[in-house]
Amino acid sequence: MGQTLFDKIWDAHVVSSNEGFPDILYIDTHFIHEVTSPQAFDGLRARGLPVFRPQQTVATADHNVPTWDQHLPIKEELSRYQVDMLTKNCAEFGIELYGLGHPFQGIVHVIGPELGITRPGGTYVCGDSHTSTHGAFGAIAFGIGTSQVEQVMATQCLLQSRPKRMKIEVNGNLQKGVGAKDIILYIISQISAAGGTGYAVEYAGDTIRALSMEGRMTICNMSIEMGARCGLIAPDETTINYVKGREFAPKGEEWDKAVAYWQTLYSDEDAEFDSVLSFKAEDIEPMITYGTNPGMGIGVTQHVPETASFEQKEQGSYKKALDYMGLHDDQQLLGKPIDYVFIGSCTNSRIEDLREVAQFVKGKHKADNVTVWVVPGSKQVQEQAIREGLDKIFDAAGFPLREPGCSACLGMNEDKIPAGKYCVSTSNRNFEGRQGPNSRTFLASPLTAAASAITGVVTDIREFLSEEVV
């Protein structure tokens, strides 16, 4: 019987497999950042162990960093301390650090791919749930806890049970104004925030195939939002062309050898999945979330569901979510005034996202009631945006281009949405308080966020697109 893509990669990384034990899985590259690593380094010290393979460990500072005046010391004492601690730990254990001021600094899930570190067929982990992003290259990549960060530092391996396999197919043509972010928000709204738990999810189908690497990363990034262990997409010409020539991509003969291997990485026709789901691209509208988990999403023209449409035992949690969001049954979000727009995060902060937003806002200006933050995913994305003159378009539209970091995705650095305010956000989580205590998040695509910034209310991007056609 044929094998799935996931099993091919997994099997190629099993160091030891024993009945009754999880497999010992070899990790090609371990990404680390300042938040989930300090206790792991302390653990190594307590055990008197070195980092087993420091050259397969890559560090950056992203969660705590300010996105304005990055050349100045970090104002918040605890944030500064945590970033300093990463610098000290990396120096002590011999790990390359792309810290503040380094030309490669940025969000860990943006820099891995753009530096050519993330490649097809590899295994990647990081103490960060959005590590699933890297699966877009046809790799196994997932988030781990700090005890496991310590484990990988100490052994370059991870004890891990093989998850079940799910295939999600999307076929057909997307409507104008609908993109990768809408696809994944739609899928999660259909299968719920727990619908993928216990599975490695392979995305397939002609709609997925037609996406750029940036779009595929957006999809795989949010695999964790349906609970999946990881998400992955078989590598093809799009993948190979993206990796080629990047800083740490293989070169010369090594490159040819790598590509020959990558071309064997796909699910065989007779491979068996534990679950297969299919969706039609034509059914997907521009999406927006209304609640406090990413499964609570609707097409932008639809109404918030009625509490009575849920099972009795779920109604309490549902009401709690609507109360938090200041919304009610059957409400339409279209036209609802908003206060902030955040374009950034490991979901949507790559150069393609910025280009798409810049093209749309060129010649337009944000509404007076809205504050807009555009936060590039990395120093390289920022530099590229400036080279292309996107910063000038953004400035003219009232969308200042900031400096790279996780920013308003998680309310950990200076960029927080104030209590009670509504933010249309291109990030990945709408949990209570995620963007700052008592902040309210509507997750959406970069285009929907940009259009809403222009009008000052939740907007259907397709209205703008039909005007332009006329």
Partner: protein, 195 residues
């Protein structure tokens, strides 16, 4: 290195019948700046437990004197979202030894097991029964036995068995450590690395 040992407990429980409790609720990101594993219990469920001025919200279960115990019982899909192990540290640091739910998010479950905090997955019906019994009697006790893998509502005698990975069970009941286990296979790792 050895870790905390867990075999059996019997205590009253703290009921939290909310679904999809994510790790941002368990410990908000702004409290992840500590660089040690201790002290996170003070900020467990911070924004549900305290108002903006830091005063306890009287209607939250952790602030209700009638509820106490070493077992947290919560709605389905507990621990979804961020991979932060700080969530498991916060729950354990507060004083819980086990979390019961009808469904756990993957990463949280692994993090809990790595910290001697036992995640016990029960059926929807059994979860409902615990909530009902505790609603009627806040002091009702629940017994969890890891060795024989069962959970029991002491007062009514209702009980259910639960699954746990045999390796992780051995770790928790003996205090074994993952890193010691993997390092015992170091020769295999070196072999794997040799082209």
């Amino acid at each position: 290195m050895s870790t905390k040992i867990f075999k059996h407990i019997q205590t009253s429980v703290v009921p939290l019948p909310i679904e999809n409790i994510d790790t941002d609720q368990i410990i908000p990101a702004r409290f992840l700046k500590a660089t040690t594993r201790e002290g996170f219990g003070n900020n467990l469920f911070r924004d549900w437990r305290f108002d903006n001025d830091g005063n306890p919200k009287q209607d939250f279960v952790l602030n209700e004197p009638k509820y106490s115990g070493k077992i947290l019982v919560a709605g389905k899909n507990f621990g979804c979202g961020s991979s932060r192990e700080h969530a498991a540290w916060a729950i354990a640091d507060y004083g819980f030894d086990a979390v019961v739910s009808s469904f756990f998010a993957d990463i949280f479950k692994g993090n809990a097991l790595n910290n001697g905090l036992l995640p016990v997955q029960v059926s929807d019906d059994f979860l409902k029964r615990i909530f009902e019994v505790v609603d009627a009697d806040p002091h009702a006790e629940v017994e969890i036995d890891l060795v024989d893998q069962f959970i029991k509502i002491v007062k009514t005698g209702e009980q259910e068995s639960f699954e746990v990975n045999p390796y992780k069970k051995a770790c928790m009941t003996n205090g074994y450590d993952d890193i010691d286990y993997i390092l015992s296979k170091k020769e295999l790792i070196l072999q794997f690395e040799t082209p």
